[in-house]
């Protein structure tokens, strides 16, 4: 942590020197320390021709088809990043960058009703096996995520919001047009994933996917069971792979992108556990990793490791405390509000995230990070998360709550306020958060019972509403339209605490209908404000994550905005020329 304070001072000093025209010849090479100010260009440098990188993934995957529910996870997405036909990626500044190997230009909205989007494929965009990417590949992907037995019988897509709303896909030359039905619209239409697997490979394997929905489903299973060797739509092509263990990449000579790949070989190797990753970094058996968690011990060990650069920053998931609005006691918005006010978020952060990230700051908006251009602080003014016991007690008193001689809070009906607090026991940040929140609420006279959850039970606890208070994390990226509905829509399966606010639902409906992204951001902030008024979810902090890289690597940096994290720009990765 000290190191980053020093880095900030160094950068400030260098900037001052540069402005005064002094020390121009003393410029040090860019490294991870620069990411605080130049998130999308830090650690850049000239690449040597050739070289090999072994990158550790801190989790595994089981099958190769990310569109299928059983295979879908972030690690598979990372493992396939060198060859996957993604539409584009958000860079570390939150800017969307189109896949340069597939598309000639940005997608174009040609009609608002029905929503129609036109994609122009790049000349030469291909699957690395002599076949061009074409309209059939778009249709194949649509069928796979349609959740429609007439197109894919028995398929189990991980999500189908968009796929089930596609009305037709047509092609003409290098232009593909996707038309949606009247029920569907999204202000984030330009980020939609439109490709996954090559249709011709399915045909080569004997699947009549276009005409037989059973064959379509079988082809999906085939892609799940077989590593994607022999074809690629990305800068690299897979030469060897074992599900859940490793992927070996070599450059794809047929890639249509402009960025030149310099590495001879890129290996993604599964290595579970922070301790193992740091140990292997020390030994030089791996060149880098961007694990999903970080602890003090890891940082101490990294500090002592030569030739390794690292950085801790806010990651892609955010911690929050949710209240169950269906609970006997917490159905009262006054009590909910008092509970959220009594919890001291700054204190929680200082004893959790700040231990590993010196600049960790409280998250003040459910949908937009504090550095987002759309960010508005809707929380501070309400007192939620302030730990102000007097304010919380005042609100309760006004509503008729009382305290007995032992200082225990009683409802207006004389019932003692006792709540259970659930958290996943394997995450130390959540355990500490729970203990601190318990202490805060005890000061208010609320008896809180801590009840840890096994990791594998979190889903059933949430879906079953088996909590009064629960602390868990949501993944995030610069998109926000789907997130808002998912968190708060009264019909959403992810609205675990059962918030039912018709006015908020109306705003969410409007948010879902608009195609104007600026208007959508306005509506999203309006929704956040209403959710805050409902005293439902208290954001804590963006969970810190670490990236660690051998200092011989260039153009490798973390990216909170992409599910692939540091792997978002593998085409640019290289070994330093110097």
């Amino acid at each position: 942590m000290e190191r980053h304070h020093k880095a900030a001072v160094t950068i400030a000093a260098c900037t001052a020197l540069a402005l005064t025209g002094c020390g121009a010849g003393d410029q040090r090479p860019s490294d991870l320390e620069d990411c605080e100010f130049e998130p999308a260009t830090c650690n850049s440098g000239e690449r040597a021709d050739g070289g090999e990188i072994t990158w550790a993934l801190d989790g595994s995957w089981t099958g190769w088809n990310p569109t299928m529910a059983s295979d879908n996870n972030a690690y598979l997405s990372s493992a396939l990043t060198g060859m996957w036909p993604a539409t584009g990626q958000f860079d570390p500044e939150g800017e969307y960058v189109l896949n340069e190997g597939l598309f000639a230009s940005e997608p174009r909205l040609t009609s608002e009703s029905p929503m129609t989007v036109e994609y122009t494929l790049k000349d030469g965009a291909n699957w690395g096996d002599g076949h061009e990417v074409g309209v059939d590949d778009f249709i194949y992907h649509w069928y796979s995520i349609s959740a429609d037995d007439d197109r894919c019988a028995g398929c189990t897509p991980a999500s189908a919001d968009r796929g089930s709303a596609v009305e037709s896909i047509t092609g003409s030359g290098r232009t593909v047009t996707v038309t949606y039905d009247d029920t569907y619209s999204s202000a984030e239409w330009q980020y939609a994933e439109v490709l996954s697997f090559p249709a011709h490979i399915a045909e080569d394997q004997g699947f009549d996917w276009k005409n037989d929905p059973r064959d379509m489903a079988d082809s999906q299973t085939w892609f799940s069971e077989n590593a994607p060797i022999g074809w690629s739509a990305g800068p690299y092509t897979v030469t060897d792979a074992e599900a859940g263990q490793y992927v070996v990449y070599e450059p794809n000579p047929d890639w249509a992108g402009e960025t030149e790949v310099t590495l001879d070989k890129l290996i993604f190797q599964v290595m579970e556990g922070l301790d193992a990753i740091v140990t292997e970094m020390r030994q030089g058996t791996i060149d880098g990793a961007s694990p999903v968690s970080v602890d003090v011990d890891t940082i101490t060990r990294l500090e002592d490791t030569d030739d390794v650069d690292y950085r801790v920053a806010a990651g892609p998931s955010w911690e929050h405390i949710d209240l169950n609005t269906r609970g006997d006691l917490l159905s009262d918005p006054v009590l909910r509000s008092a509970v959220l006010i009594a919890i001291d978020v700054e204190d929680i952060i200082s004893r959790t995230a700040s231990l590993v990230q010196f600049d960790a700051e409280r998250r003040l908006n459910h949908l937009f990070r504090n550095d987002s251009p759309n960010f508005t602080d809707h929380l501070s003014a309400t007192g939620q998360g302030s730990g102000d016991i007097e304010l919380a007690a005042g609100i309760l008193e006004d509503a008729g709550y009382t305290w007995d001689d032992g200082g225990r809070l009683l409802t207006p009906d004389g019932e003692e306020v006792a709540l259970d607090y659930r958290y996943t026991e394997s995450k130390s940040i959540r355990k500490t958060t729970a203990q601190l929140a318990q202490a805060n609420l005890t000061d208010l006279g609320i008896d809180v019972t801590l009840d840890p959850i096994a990791d594998a039970d979190l889903g059933s606890v949430l879906f079953g509403g088996e909590f009064d208070i629960v602390n868990f994390g949501w993944s995030t990226d610069p998109t926000f339209v789907d997130g808002a509905s998912q968190y708060w829509d009264s019909e959403s399966s992810s609205n675990f605490g059962g918030l039912d606010d018709p006015e908020l639902d109306a705003v969410l409906d409007e948010l879902g209908d608009t195609l104007d992204r600026a208007r959508a951001a306005e509506l999203a902030n309006q929704a956040v404000e209403m959710a805050v008024d409902d005293a439902y979810v208290l954001p804590i902090v963006d969970s810190p994550v670490a990236i660690m890289v051998s200092d011989r690597l260039v153009n490798v940096r973390d990216n909170w905005a992409s599910q692939q994290r540091a792997m978002y720009n593998v085409a640019e990765w290289g070994v330093s020329e110097s």
């Binding site: 089981t62 099958g63 190769w64 299928m68 529910a69 059983s70 295979d71 879908n72 996870n73 972030a74 997405s77 959740a147 037995d149 189990t156 897509p157 991980a158 999500s159 189908a160 919001d161 089930s164 799940s224 069971e225 060897d240 074992e242 599900a243 263990q245 490793y246 070996v248 290996i267 190797q269 290595m271 579970e272 556990g273 193992a276 140990t279 292997e280 020390r282 030994q283 058996t285 096994a454 990791d455 594998a456 039970d457 979190l458 889903g459 059933s460 949430l462 879906f463 079953g464 949501w474 993944s475 990226d477 998109t479 789907d482 997130g483 998912q486 959403s492 399966s493 992810s494 599910q563």
Partner: protein
Amino acid sequence: MVVFIIRRVLVMIPVLIGATILSFLLVDLTNDPVQQQVFEIQQSTGEPVPQSTVDALEANLYYDRSIPERYWLWLTGIGDTNGDIGLLQGKWGPSIEGSATDIGQEITDRFAVTLRLVLFATIASIGLAILTGVISAVKQYSKLDYTLTFIGFLALAMPIFWLASLLKEAAVQTNDALGTNLFKTYGSGTTGFKGNGWELFVDALPYLIVPTIALMLGGYAAMSRYQRASMLEVMNSDYVRLARAKGVRNRTVMRRHALRTALIPVATFAPLGLATAMGGAIVTESIFGWRGLGAYSLKAIQDGDSFAVMAYLLISGVVVLTGILVSDLLYGVLDPRIRYE
């Protein structure tokens, strides 16, 4: 003896069935993997999982059936509509990890990995236990005896995860000091290495050393105490004293008369020790990143992958019961006073 073996095997069957029923109930009642999976997918995609997918996941994993129905299907496969379940038909059931994961294949592959570790560790721990036990007994109450006893108790007292972590760190420090990668500390072989049997063995050797030592030290300590006590008992027996009185050389007395008899307890303990070491391998595999049976079971338990957990528990049960049977049989083979009827 054949009748004895058949009788014992027949007794094993109800024991195993009882164990599987208990395990199945515990696994099924303590988790709901489908809901967890749905939650994780929603976390990953940021979108709701289609209801048709949720229904299909439940049907594929037979979570649309009652617990007794699921157990019956798991055991017999009778009434199965997907063609992937029924232990008695050689089908282990579907994994929550999807159709790309065949539990039977996983168990087979990973059993081979674990067996490699456990076999080497058990052989080494038996060898070391016999050596130190005999030396301690022959040099009873000497400085050497006290030293070996101290080391034995130290190894016995140290939890395996601690011992393994210390050894791992020592290996890293040694590599640092020597400027080599002599000891590999993660995985059981080079990523993507292909070769014939001998080449695979040579490749695996640097990965095998440290975990084997960790597992070996965990197992040897108790056995060395058995060996010492057994050796002392035999050395003080009448027939050994008679051999000495007849003027037989001390070395010959030890080797031919004392050691052979004193090995019986350790030899009979060995098969059970092998089974016990498989339990210890769960921790060792986790620390050294081996993709063995232990690591598989741990992940299956964490994920609530019930049929995978059942497969592991069944294999473990069979190994333990077989270990006990072989131990009992070895008593009869090694000790002529014991006869099976």
